[in-house]
Every structure is written in C-alpha cells, then in structure tokens.
Symmetry: C2
Subunit: 254 residues, 2 copies
C-alpha cells in the first residue's frame, strides 16, 4: 500500500492565511475529499478527482478517503481552519480505529491551519493572551449537560472561552442557555466578542459585554469569545476597541 | 502619524508553516523587533533595521516597537507560534493601555500563526479534537495557586489540556506538582504526549500515560498534551501510536 492521506487545514478562508505546506499537499493530491463549500476554495487542477460530500456524513466521508488511500491514491481531506479543532482529523482517526486493520498502515499527515479562534482573536486584539479554552456548543454529538459543565468550570476557573458552533437553525436556544449560565458566574461587564465570517468580505465583529450580548447575534458562521475577569478593553477614538488578556494576573479584579 | 505595527506569528519554525501574510508583513517592515532566536529565523533584507532583545524584557520591547511606529516606521514585532498565545500580542496591547495616548491611534495588525499546540497535535494525531484548553505553567507572572486551580478545573471537567512552559531551569519543580495534581483526578491510563522542538531537526515526541510520565522529560522547548478520559490511543505496527479525542462523547468511559 503506497497511498497517503493528508488532512489539510485551509485556515479561515483568505488565501494569505493558508500555509505553503497546505498548498503543497493540495497540489500533490490525486483526490480531494471534503464538504462542498471547503472544496470550492481549492483551485481545480487537471486530472485531480474531487469527491464532494454534504456537511453531515463526516464519518462516511473519512471512510471513503481512507479507502481511496488504501487503494494507492494520494488523498487530501480538506478542512476549514485547523483540521484538528472540531473538524475532520478526529473523524479520520475514529474511522481508522473502527475500520480495516490495514488502514493503520496508511501514511497519514495532519497539515495544521490557522484556526477560526486565532483568526478572530487577531482581529480583536489579544483576547487569548492568557489561559483559554475552546468549547463546541453543538450537542449533536454530546449531552448538553456535559457542555454546560465544561462551560461553567472554565468560566469559574478564569479561562477565556472560545465558543465554536454557538448556534444553528437546528439549535437556536442553546447559546441563550449558555449566556444565562455564564451570567451567573462572570461579572456583567465581562467583554464578549462576536466574530462572524472572519477574513471574508462579510466579516462582522461586535464587541459588547456579557450582560448586553444578544443571543440572536450568533449563527453558524460566528465564533464567540468570552473574556475572563482579567480581560481588558482599550477604547479608541475612531475605531473598534481592542480586547486583550494580560499575561500577568496582578491586574485581575473581578 | 503614519507608522504601523504588525505583530507577526512565525509558526513553530518550519518555513512551510509560515503564512504568506506573515511573510509579506516581514518583508514590508522597515524595522524588525524581537527576541534574538526568533529574529534569526527571518531572512535579512537590505535597509531593514533589526532590534534584537533578550527573552526577558518583553514590555520594554513592546514599548520600543510602539515608539518606532509612533515615529512613522513600519514595524514588525516577531513572535514564535501564534503571537496571541502566551506571546507578544498581549504584551503590546498592555504597553498601549499603559503608554502614550497617541499609541492608541497606531494601525496595529496581529498576523496569526500556527501555534505550537496545533503543530504538536498534528504530529500526534487529533488529540485536540474535542473541547480543550491551553494553560501556561509559568508562575513568573501569576500565582501558582491560580495555575493549579485552572489545571484541576480543566481536568475535572473533561478538557484535553495543552501545557505551555511546563519547565525551565528556573522552575524545575512545578511540572512534577502539576502531574501529581492531575494524577489525583484523571485515570492512570490517560494518554500524555511530550512534544519537543516540533518541526525542527531535533523534534522529539513521546507518547506515554499520565501514570508513567517522567517530570524530567519536559524542558523549555516542550509542549505537554494531556488527554481527557475520552482520548484514545491507536496502536500501529511500525510507528508511534496515534492519539485522538472523538467528537462524540458516547465513547467516554473513564
């Protein structure tokens, strides 16, 4: 078996945030596998096969990619952001563990990318400058109580929180429930940022407070960053304020 | 004032993991500011000034960069990994908040990079595939009790943990104390990975268990990844095992 499988992170969308390693992995692949809107970002090449799938059947997509690699193809599975963060890399390894024994011998390479949380943080200042966590609010794949437990533990312990998948049409109420839980723990003035479609022409960033955050502001393309009690806001005259979290904790005054 | 300040993430070290945006920001700068070993990674350009500093005086380095930008220069502050993660971006905004009022009007751009934790995770599998956090073990800038509180809260709530700055010559004992605390919370078999100098010729990755982890294995160039009870290990015949954390939590069996 001489096939290979690269799981490639495109970054948040802008070509200038895609690493040369990702570009090379995409160019050398015989087969691209991925969700349609991610594949649409990759320039087409003559002779390169494209296997487009919907946003749902990720385990099936991973198995298809592994079967192609086992048959000797050079496969690239395309992911947005970093493939290791709430994305395809975990799904591919899950498919390997539960799949054909020979799949364990495939040369698998994970090609990291700029994750949505770092792209958003960069546009906002340095909100992730001290200890932070990333939590997916989707309960398609996990019990909601577990999500809430991690959220409240993180807020109570002083982590800055990056919330992935805060809301979708199928899950309109969970983000409101999350905000309610956080309002019981963190000061009302805690900075909160909504970052949507970062790096695209539709980018929209709003910096508010935990008390003033409108649950309806979040959708599928939104990342929500919630400060810790140490996170600070710098006002500017002609521009959006900056948020940053100091690396010292002397400044902490909840 | 027409100066600009870019805070640029080089990524973990390999040029193929540095984004085109970072490369462009470095090339267009009139002045590079940074720690010597990071500046050494940036090719020199005729006419471009280099301001090298030691690893300690970061706030002073940030103020120097801001003063240069305020004087009209195009400044790039060079950071390893992602500049927003335990690095220079937070320090620059702290310097702005505590500095000259006019510094708030400088055009500041944070240029994200591949952080050490994602580069390490990519070499190991998909250990950060579900909710995770990043904690800096250094107590140069914070009380040790706060570090321990966040560490135990994260482990107890089921986060995968990326430990930055686990040890240095000045802080040889804290990582052992952290392991001891985690062993009181997590199963002995919890996967733990040491990732040192990822992407360089000296890269060394060891995958062990929480019970078997040797505190002396960690140094300044090491990132430590500690699984959650859901993190799984896939054995391979001729290679290091893979670690991944499933996005479902049905598999959780601590």
């Amino acid at each position: 078996m001489s096939g290979t499988l690269a799981i490639v992170g495109l970054g948040p969308g802008a070509p200038e945030l895609q690493t040369p390693q990702a570009t090379a992995a995409l160019q050398s692949a015989t087969d691209l596998v991925g969700y349609g809107s991610y594949l649409a970002r990759v320039p087409s090449r003559p002779g390169q096969a494209r296997h487009t799938s919907g946003n749902g059947d990720e385990l099936q997509r991973a198995r298809h990619a592994l079967a192609l690699a086992a048959a000797g193809r050079r496969v690239a599975v395309v992911s947005s952001g970093d493939p290791g963060v709430f994305a395809m890399a975990s799904t591919v390894f899950q498919a390997i563990e539960s799949g054909e024994t020979e799949w364990r011998e495939i040369a698998v390479e994970v090609v990291p990318g700029i994750s949505a949380m770092f792209a958003a943080a960069a546009r906002i200042g340095a909100p992730l400058g001290h200890d932070f966590c990333a939590i997916s609010l989707s309960d398609n794949l996990q019990p909601w109580d577990d999500v809430l437990r991690r959220l409240t533990a993180a807020a109570g312990a002083g982590f800055v929180i990056a919330l992935y998948n805060p809301a979708s049409r199928a899950r309109p109420t969970q983000f409101a429930a999350a905000l309610k839980a956080l309002r019981g723990i963190l000061p009302a003035t805690t900075p909160l940022a909504f970052a949507s479609a970062v790096g695209s022409a539709e980018e929209r960033i709003d910096i508010v407070t935990l008390a003033a955050a409108d649950p309806a502001r979040a959708d599928m393309r939104t990342l929500v960053l919630i400060g810790s009690p140490a996170t600070r806001r710098i006002e500017r005259r002609h521009a959006r304020p900056w948020l940053y979290t100091p690396r010292q904790s002397e400044d902490v005054s909840p």
